[in-house]
């Protein structure tokens, strides 16, 4: 083990390796900030560039892109209220209110440190306990996934900021939208209006762009008569000054990292769910839950720590079993295979120099995006000082380009505007938008896994119900679901009583 780490260190000491990590991190930060470009696209587009590099150098660069872009989605979420990547949706809930209060630097600093620590802890898990964790990931079958999606949906209670009914409406709308496209098991087309662009369902990134940028642009334009005075950055401007605050939140950081790592290990769940679950857990155990949704630093730390902890987690089943956990790692698997490497035990013995070089490069990348991110963020903070008459059209233009560029399809721009109109209506009636995202992300998972669970027991509902209770992991998740629902209802009653009085 330590011998392997030494081998990894020696390949890491190569200056080309460090240059590749730096290039990946810098590119990744920019990719994450722009709402149209996601981690998956960044990694996919750069794989051909890595053809001619030695494997560990190419992988180090791809790793840098993956980690840095997962983090930097937070920058646009905090400053513009538009998530740069799906992973930053939960960050936006508190990050943007903090920015509105003039605490942009504080929110960005916390997001950066949280991401870095979460990422580092997940790489530690990858380095030391990957094989047993990978075996755990195989125990997740369709019933477990189905229940996990249901459990994720209970998070709506935490995302609705006091208006439970409105949160449920948005969540249900998200679930409904997620049914567009072909049925995951039978291939039947639903609500596609014969448009081939809708056959695969509403594209998530396109809808995120519409859901958040269109309402933001409209509200900027509607406020144009008001003074254009920018929100003054009232805080200390040195982000390092917020480092001690992180240590005060060590329980939150550890819990969020753990949630992120576990979510990462389970294939097919992903960074955004990690952020949501950690945010929910932080809110439930916080001393000041009422601050969540109104600019709670705890919320920013929880979401960002967790979504970056997912990154190391997803690499565990990828490297040990060849099972990719999310779209980014599926693409990364292609990048590994193209060099003739086979995920599995060989990777840790025969190709130890490459594998451990790659894992150790992730440590460097997780540390490196702190200065790079803070440097870029320093200039991005000035974005909020740009006059609205320039900012609003620029955002709309970026949103159109971003949604077009994903599949090179004009239909996607129309979908973006359509979802944007829904987003505007929701904002107008102060219905929270995060539950809709949650419904969209988890709806597909829940529906597909439910159908698959039933297909596996030949449609026998009784057998399916028995499985939910008798399979150990699914029983645990079932209990968690019940607890979450019970607590949500109790909380809701308490709140309404308080209102009545």
């Amino acid at each position: 083990m330590f011998e392997n780490i030494l081998i990894g260190l020696s390949s890491l000491s190569d200056p080309i390796m460090l240059a590749a990590i730096a290039a990946g991190v810098f590119g990744g930060v920019l990719i994450g900030i722009l709402p149209g470009l996601t981690s998956t696209m960044g990694v996919a587009l750069l794989i051909p560039v890595t053809f001619s590099m030695p494997p560990q150098v190419g992988l180090a660069m791809l790793g840098g892109i993956y980690l840095a872009s997962t983090y930097s989605g937070a920058i646009s979420a905090v400053l513009l209220n538009i998530p740069g990547t799906p992973a930053a949706v939960a960050t936006l809930l508190d990050g943007h209110p903090m920015s509105r209060r003039g605490q942009s630097t504080r929110a960005l600093a916390l997001a950066t440190f949280g991401s870095s620590i979460g990422g580092l802890l997940s790489v530690v898990a990858l380095l030391f306990i990957a094989p047993p964790l990978a075996e755990f990931s195989l125990r997740f079958g369709s019933p477990e996934y189905f229940l996990l999606a249901v459990f994720g949906i209970t998070v709506i209670a935490s995302l609705s900021a006091g208006a439970m009914e409105k949160g449920i409406i948005a969540g249900a709308l998200g679930l409904l939208l997620s049914t567009i496209g072909n049925h995951p098991l039978t291939g039947e087309m639903r609500f596609t209006m014969d448009l081939p662009s809708l056959y695969d369902g509403i594209p998530l990134v396109v809808s995120l762009i519409g859901l958040y940028s269109v309402p933001e642009v409209i509200s900027m334009i509607s406020k144009r008569k008001q003074s254009n005075k920018p929100v003054f950055n009232a805080d200390k401007t040195n982000p390092m000054a917020f480092m001690p605050e992180m240590f005060k939140q060590k329980v939150n950081v550890l819990r969020s990292s753990l949630i992120g790592i576990i979510v990462g290990i389970i294939p097919g769940v992903g960074c955004s769910v990690g952020g949501f679950l950690a945010y929910d857990a932080a809110k439930r155990s916080s001393k000041k839950p009422e601050e969540f949704g109104n600019g709670s630093p705890e919320g920013v730390v929880a979401s960002e720590t967790s979504n970056n902890a997912v990154t190391g987690g997803t690499l565990i089943p990828l490297l040990t079993l060849g099972v990719p956990g999310n779209p980014v790692t599926a693409v990364l698997l292609g990048g590994i295979m193209i060099h003739g490497l086979r995920p599995g035990p060989d990777l840790f013995t025969l190709n130890a120099d490459i594998t451990y070089g790659f894992i150790l490069s992730l440590f460097v990348a997780n540390l490196l995006f702190v200065p790079v991110g803070l440097f870029v963020a320093k200039y991005c903070v000035r974005v909020i000082q740009i006059p609205r008459s320039i900012l609003a059209p620029s955002i709309l233009a970026l949103a159109a380009i971003g949604s077009y560029s994903i599949r090179g399809s004009l239909d996607d721009v129309v979908i973006m505007l359509f979802v944007g109109a829904i987003g505007f209506l929701l904002q107008f009636f102060s219905v929270p938008r995060a539950p809709l995202v949650l419904g969209l992300v988890l709806g597909t998972l829940a529906e597909g896994e439910l159908a698959r669970s039933l297909a596996l027991v030949h449609g026998d509902l009784g057998a399916f119900a028995a499985q939910l209770v008798t399979r150990p992991i699914s029983a645990v998740i079932l209990l968690l679901c019940c607890y979450a629902l019970y607590q949500g209802i109790v909380q809701h009653r308490k709140n309404s009583k308080m209102l009545d009085e």
């Binding site: 195989l138 079958g141 599995g344």
Partner: protein
Amino acid sequence: MIGKIRFAALAMTAALTLPFLQAATATAGEYPEKPVSMIVAYSPGGGTDTAARVIAKYVQPHLGQRLIIQNKPGAGGQIGFTELARSQPDGYKIGFINIPSIFMVKMLRENVPYEMSDFEAIANIQLDPVMLVVKADSPLKTFQDFLDAAKKAPGEVNVGGDGPQSNNQLQVVVAEDKLGVDVNFVSFDGSGPAITATLGDQVVAAVPSASSATTHILNGRLRALAVFSEKRYKYLPDVPTIKEASGVDVPGIGASMRGIAVPKGVSPEQKKVLEAAFAKVMEDPEFLAHAEKMGLPLDYMNGADFDAYIQSAAEAVEAYIPLLK
């Protein structure tokens, strides 16, 4: 003065017409004069895309121009295939097509705006057959064991695979028909998740593409019982073909093939240039070494053979389409 103006006017006319003249001479030159773009109907980073990018890199010296990949993903390939069918047949737009997906999409859906006659084949590059695999510790040691288990409990044995309506499911339907068995096919979001489900004991067996199962078989986590193909799979020479394993000739029409095609109407001269370039790359030792390292199952067919294969495969598949719906 007037002379000067006249001279200036002449110079301007010359400056304006020169580019057109150049363009005119350019078309008279040898094809290809500029980079050729290749439509890939799947997302960047996937298996089809990666294979396309590797071949694009190595075909460049043989073609004399760069080959640029254009991803047009969506609707199981339908969007990209439609784009290719509607492209200008000027030789600068070619496509990477997937068999049998390209005609299964057409047969399974209404209102698909292309016909198979809209395409002309240039070369087939790879053939990735479907493989029947079980977990390494499964009690089913041979294909016969699997067959016995499936016959004992008709419709009960769970078999996972890409789906729905995929080439893998097609192969299962064909095999069921020829072998007289009935299994419970369960769709997963690709070969990867189907393999994971097999490793996690969710399904008895899986029918992934051979290329995605290879790693797991060589690692000793999966055991292959048979490959649905006429000949054994290059990277797993110990796995018997379905005919060797069962004695029954099950056509391997579920095999996923990837090849090059152009929209109908490309001039015969241009087609010849393209065919020659892809024929040469398939003998290029550097390309062959890279493909071998990646585990790409190459299988070259020239344009005429590939066209003939597509035709006969499409006819064979047609009969099974109702069973997939």
